[in-house]
Structure formats: C-alpha cells, structure tokens
C-alpha cells in the first residue's frame, strides 16, 4: 500500500510516497538521503537509529514512517546551529573523546540530549549509565560517553538548548 506522508524534519517540511511498511529510518536515509541516522541492529536494541519525534527520543527502526505523519522530527543533522558551530552535546563528545569508530555516536548524542532535558540538566554518573540502557557502543567502553554527557548537561543549560 502506497501512502503519502508529510512531516517536519529538522525544521523543514518534507513529504513523500512510502509503502505502509517503510520504517522511519528508511524514510530518512533512503528517501531524504539523510544518512546521519544509522541502523546498527534493526532489532530495537542498539539505539544507533535514535531520533527525536516531537521532542522525545525514539528508535526510528521501530517506527513506521506513516506513524510520524505530521510530527516534528529532529535528526543528528539538525543539531548544529551553524556549519562552524556544534551543539554542546556534540562538542562535549569531541572534547571528551567519546567516540572511536563513531557508528553509535548519532544515536548516543540524540539519546543523551533527551536524557539531559528529561532530568532538567541535572545528572549524576549512575543516572547517565542507567539511562544509556538503550544505546550500545562496541568501541569506547562507555566511560568517555558518560563523561561527555555529564559535561554537556551544564553546557546545554547555559547555552539555553
């Protein structure tokens, strides 16, 4: 079944014709060519595909594109305020060497921003580790990811994002 779908992605209105079974991540990567959102497992476990839908982090491999009809979607491509400035969470990942191969990073960053906001910019190490349950990293051992998120929380607060 082919369906028209329309949503806002990173502030821009987009639309397209998809099959009912098209996943949101397929729509982003294959229809819109936005390949920043990754597919690691395709079984809802690794979190490489996390994007924000109406402000909440979701696994875009486990949501149909048609379920995002009318929604506001933010992907990793939509975070940096300009070409030469990163989002505080991206900056913190860079400063803290929180990535090695980088495959998990887009999902980590998207989950991390949602986590910081849900906890009102106040996090401790144990909370960060528990909140990362839905994101797997095969390289870093998580330690620097946790450090980056703890560093980004106050930076996001002072940047007002």
């Amino acid at each position: 079944m082919t369906i028209s779908v329309a949503m806002t992605v990173n502030g821009k209105s987009v639309s397209g014709k998809v099959e009912a079974r098209t996943l949101l991540v397929q729509f982003l990567r294959e229809h819109l060519g936005m390949t920043g959102t990754h597919v690691g497992c395709d079984t809802s476990q690794c979190g490489a595909c996390v994007v924000h839908v109406d402000g909440q982090s979701v696994k875009s491999c486990t949501m149909l594109a048609v379920q995002a009809e009318g929604a506001k979607v933010t992907t990793i491509e939509g975070l940096a305020p300009s070409a030469d400035k990163l989002h505080p969470m991206q900056e913190a990942f860079r400063d803290n060497h929180a990535l090695q191969c980088g495959f998990c990073t887009p999902g980590m960053v998207m989950s991390a921003i949602d986590m910081v906001k849900r906890h009102n910019y106040q996090l401790d190490e144990a909370t960060v580790r528990r909140e990362l349950e839905g994101n797997l990293c095969r390289c870093t051992g998580y330690h620097n990811i946790v450090k980056a998120i703890l560093a980004a929380a106050p930076a996001m607060k002072s940047a007002g994002v």
Binding site: I3, E19, A20, R21, D42, S44, S57, S111, E133
Partner: protein, 265 residues
C-alpha cells in the same frame, strides 16, 4: 516485513469497525513489539490499525479509589505521572524499569497487556493489584485475563481501552532483569489490600501466576520472614539459555522477599 494496508482512525468506534470482519487485521499501539514481529515475518497482517491517533485512549485519571490508565498511555508517562506516583508508586516504579528510555517513549500499557509476553512486567501488576481490563465490549477481571503464553481473554477484534488499578495499602515490584533485554527473568509484584495480600509472578512461567502459599502467609504477617521457607516448585517453569527452571524458582523466593521489604519501607 510484508506490506499491509495502514489505517489511522481517530476514535475507538472507527478502530473497531476497521478491525471487524478482517481476520488478518491487527491493532497497533506503540509498535515496540508488533514492528519487530513484522520485521521477522512472524506475522502477516492484511491491515494494521494504528491506535496512535485515538486521543480518547491516552491519559491517566484517578476515579474514587482507582487509578485508571488509558490503553495508549506510554510507559514513560506512567513512570512520571504525579497521580500514579502518589497513589500507586510501585506501578510508576515498574513502568520506569521497562526496557530503556526509547522503549518507554513508545510502548504502551494496552499493547503490553494485550501481548501477554511471559517476561513482560505489567501483567504482574495487573494480577497483583486485581486490576480490571476494560475493552470496547466489556470488562475482564485480572484473574481470568491472562490465559497462557501470549494468550489472553481478548476476543477477535476486541481492543483494550483502559486498565483500572485499585489503590493498595502497600505494594512493591522487584524484578531480576535479563541484563541484555531488561525483560523480567523473574519479577514479583506484591500488594497488600483491604481484602488481603496478592503475589503475582512474571517471567518465571509461560504466563503470570499467583503464589497462594505466600499470599496466605503474608496475610497473617506482612514481612519477608513470613515467606522465607516457602519454595515454588520448578515444574512447569521456563528453562532457556538465560536460566534454568530451578534458578527461576529460586529467584521467585528472593524477589518476593525483596518486594515485601521494599513495600514495608
């Protein structure tokens, strides 16, 4: 995934009408179980009826001594609801430990209860709190609702609209999560109510079950000491790569005692 016809009704009546007469039509709530099932081609529905647009199905109300949770209410919203935290904190605690934050942002109570996964958390709360499952056709008491592995009392085309939880005097849930999936290896929900104590176990068997011996002992003395010698037989419990039936039987006792201690805190 096989393709299907997709529908997004705005009311329960329209959803029911869309499901009617189509044997292969399936409702979808959060999709956190259904979409993985479709990806593995374990199901081939002709039609998927997305309940995401049915506003009347989401939300939490306090009605008399009950907390009534709409079927489309997400795990994350139950976990953070001021009403649930005030009246049944054990239920908010349970919801906050389902899967991970992204699963909790999409998965719903109606989908979880309808699915009746042997390792799901909510069934333990439904049975221990003696909740009532309301559907488009009527009401189901907790005790008759879960029939077996992925099997409930729901009929063809029947959809859950809300679940009503009577407020207990004390309650707590303890789970031993599978370290990879966070599903319950064993989860025990203990509730002390005006009409007695109920102990419901999930994860251990093909379906949620009550432990009458523990309920009787706890009704006389609501302390973990009262159940320290009660053993659950391993016969009929789940054995898999994650743990043997004997291991799970042992965990039932441990989780039950911890739940009682938590409820008494």
């Amino acid at each position: 995934m096989y393709d299907f016809a997709y529908h997004r009704p705005k009311s329960v009546a329209d959803a029911v009408a869309l499901l009617k007469g189509k044997e292969e039509a399936r409702p979808m709530s959060g999709g956190m179980t259904l979409i993985p099932t479709l990806k593995q081609r374990l199901a081939k529905p002709s039609d998927v009826v997305d309940l995401g647009g049915v506003k009347e199905l989401a939300g939490i109300k306090v009605e008399g001594g009950n907390v009534v949770i709409g079927a489309m209410t997400k795990h994350g919203d139950v976990a953070t609801s001021a009403d649930v935290k005030a009246h049944i904190p054990a239920l908010a605690d349970l919801a906050g430990h389902i899967g991970d934050p992204q699963v909790r942002n999409r998965g719903t109570i109606g989908g979880s209860v309808a699915n009746a996964d042997p390792a799901a958390d909510y069934p333990a709360a439904v049975v221990a709190l003696n909740a009532t499952v309301t559907t488009n056709t009527g009401k189901h008491a907790a005790d008759g609702f879960f029939k077996g592995l992925f099997e409930t009392a729901l009929g063809e085309g029947e959809i859950i609209t809300s679940i009503s939880f009577p407020k207990p005097e004390k309650a707590a849930y303890m789970k031993f999560p599978n370290p990879a999936s966070r599903y319950a290896m064993v989860g025990v929900f203990v509730a002390k109510t005006a009409s007695g104590v109920r102990v419901a176990v999930t994860g251990a068997g093909p379906s949620v079950f009550r432990v009458k011996a523990m309920e009787e002992a706890l009704s006389k003395n609501f302390s973990s000491d009262a159940i320290k010698d009660i053993k659950v037989p391993a016969t009929d419990l789940n054995s898999d790569i994650h743990g043997s039936a004997e291991y799970r039987a042992h965990l039932v006792g441990v989780m039950a005692r911890r739940a009682v201690d938590k409820a008494n805190k």
